[in-house]
Amino acid sequence: MTERTIQVDALARVEGEGALYLKVKDGAVVDVRLEIYEPPRFFEGFLLGRRYEEVPDLTARICGICPVAYQMSSARALEKAFGVQVPPAVRDLRHLLYCAEWIESHVLHIYMLQAPDLTGHESALELAQDAPEIVQRGLHLKRIGNTLLALLGGRSVHPVNPTVGGFYRWPDVEAIRALVPELTWGLEASQETVRWAAGLDFPDLEVDYEFVALHHPQEYAILEGVVRSSVSGDLPEEQFEQGYREEHVPHSNALHNRTARGTTYMVGPLARFNLNFEQLHPVARAVAEEVGFRPPVRNPYKALLARAVEVVHAYAVALEIARTWQPEGPPRAEIHPRAGEGAAITEAPRGMLYHRYRVDDRGLVEDARIVPPTAQNLARMEDDLRMLAPVVLSLPHDEATLRCEHLVRAYDPCISCATHFLKMEVSEA
């Protein structure tokens, strides 16, 4: 009997811990455990009793990379609880802000985190030595996202301007217009990114995923939509918890999600790309077609390409809004707190982010539920590792570890986990 264990222990970092444990006995996987520390659990507790206005700012702290997603999902959930509709100028500005976050987050992952796996470099630093112009392009693309985010949000990390009902103040229109040349450059450079990424050497792996993402008939859903599954069809966002359940697993302090049918599913760029290809901005769709990248795509590593296409989309949408946006009326809808409940989903860079709040008549939070995208992907990632394990365990140890890590990184789990996915120990019995 041969038994082999791959274990990747947690690396102590300031925020975020990941661990991977894989055990194979006589060629069969007997145990896979992927643990990624997820702080939202903690937040649900300390949101209780807080005033509704504090919620977007508090939940933004859950993630330094996708604070806008937390602000948008929480603001929309609370607006639904209060029966508030935001005016079009607010919605457009939110769309623009969200594009900025997608740009920042996606570009970081494409160039700095996943690309080195595909180019055979140990890190982006090594990649920068061999191909400085590529990394420079990534840095420039990312910086434009930062600048836009800082302009609309007040600062580039944990923006302070968005609130329930809209924004505390309108940003300076002239400053937004002044970004048009940079956004125009970004639209070009992001298409170049797709062309470059299409030439990367993606490992072969085809998985019959159940994809789940927001869907909106008129636009590539980011801010709102119905929950669409490639297997079970559509569900209104309010019914998310009926269709998708969290389960406690003893090895992780993050909850794992499954569908009500018990299946695992994938959220994020690949799910969105497969489900919403028709709604992509024409420029993004055209460049995807040009490189022969069209649905269905079932190779998890190619999430990088989906991300790259989404960066084109985000630049194209941002450019249109930046050219035409005008403030109109007050920057936020008036809120009259009342007892109620609201649930909302938006598409964070890594996939659907669900928030539900119950508030009392003073607008104090009585119950909070947050389901982040990484928690939804965890069970799916474990299934993927189960599929991959028999193949890679015949490889030398370092290579096997790298292949496992690469697969996990392709999901862009929480970023701290995605960068240095840790060292590994092997014991063979």
Partner: protein
């Protein structure tokens, strides 16, 4: 005049002693208000800046990064080191999001991006980095000395006419 001297507090508010870099810079800013607000001086409080640190440093003649570190020294110990030596502290200096200060500076050098001729780090040894913790007593006790160290550094790197203002 555009800012030539940059003072950067780095850290995370929610992570106990990891907030010390932010806190020290805030205190110095409140104490030496006039110097801190001078157009030749840029003060940044950055939580998880990652690669955006490069943009903050661009064009400066000198930069001081104030951060928490874990090196095994007694809590509250003040370390002053040139940025090149940061690598020795990577575990403590690296931010959550993969691109810590050391990696970011190394990337800038690799890409040949202009860095300030002087980049120095003022680091305080952290004790407690738990989520939600406040500054631990030994680290809090080191705040006045750290504030003084920032003031002295800024005086050294500012043009005399500003420093004397």
């Amino acid at each position: 005049m555009s800012a030539r001297v940059v003072v950067c507090g780095l850290g995370q508010t929610l992570r106990g002693d990891d907030a010390v870099g932010l806190e020290v810079v805030r205190r110095w800013q409140a104490r030496d208000r006039r110097v801190a607000a001078h157009p030749a001086v840029a003060v940044h409080l950055l939580e998880l800046p990652g690669l955006a640190l490069l943009d903050v440093l661009e064009g400066a003649s000198a930069a001081l990064l104030v951060d928490a570190v874990v090196s095994g020294a007694p809590p509250g110990t003040l370390h002053r080191l040139p940025a090149e030596r940061l690598e020795a502290f990577v575990a403590g200096a690296a931010s959550a999001h993969g691109w810590g200060v050391a990696e970011t500076l190394r990337l800038a050098r690799t890409l040949g991006r202009p860095l300030p001729p002087v980049v120095e780090v003022l680091a305080l040894e952290a004790a407690d980095l738990r989520l939600g913790a406040s500054l631990s007593p030994a680290v809090a006790a080191a705040l006045p000395a750290a504030v003084e160290a920032i003031a002295a550094w800024v005086r050294r790197h500012l043009p005399p006419e500003v420093a004397d203002a």
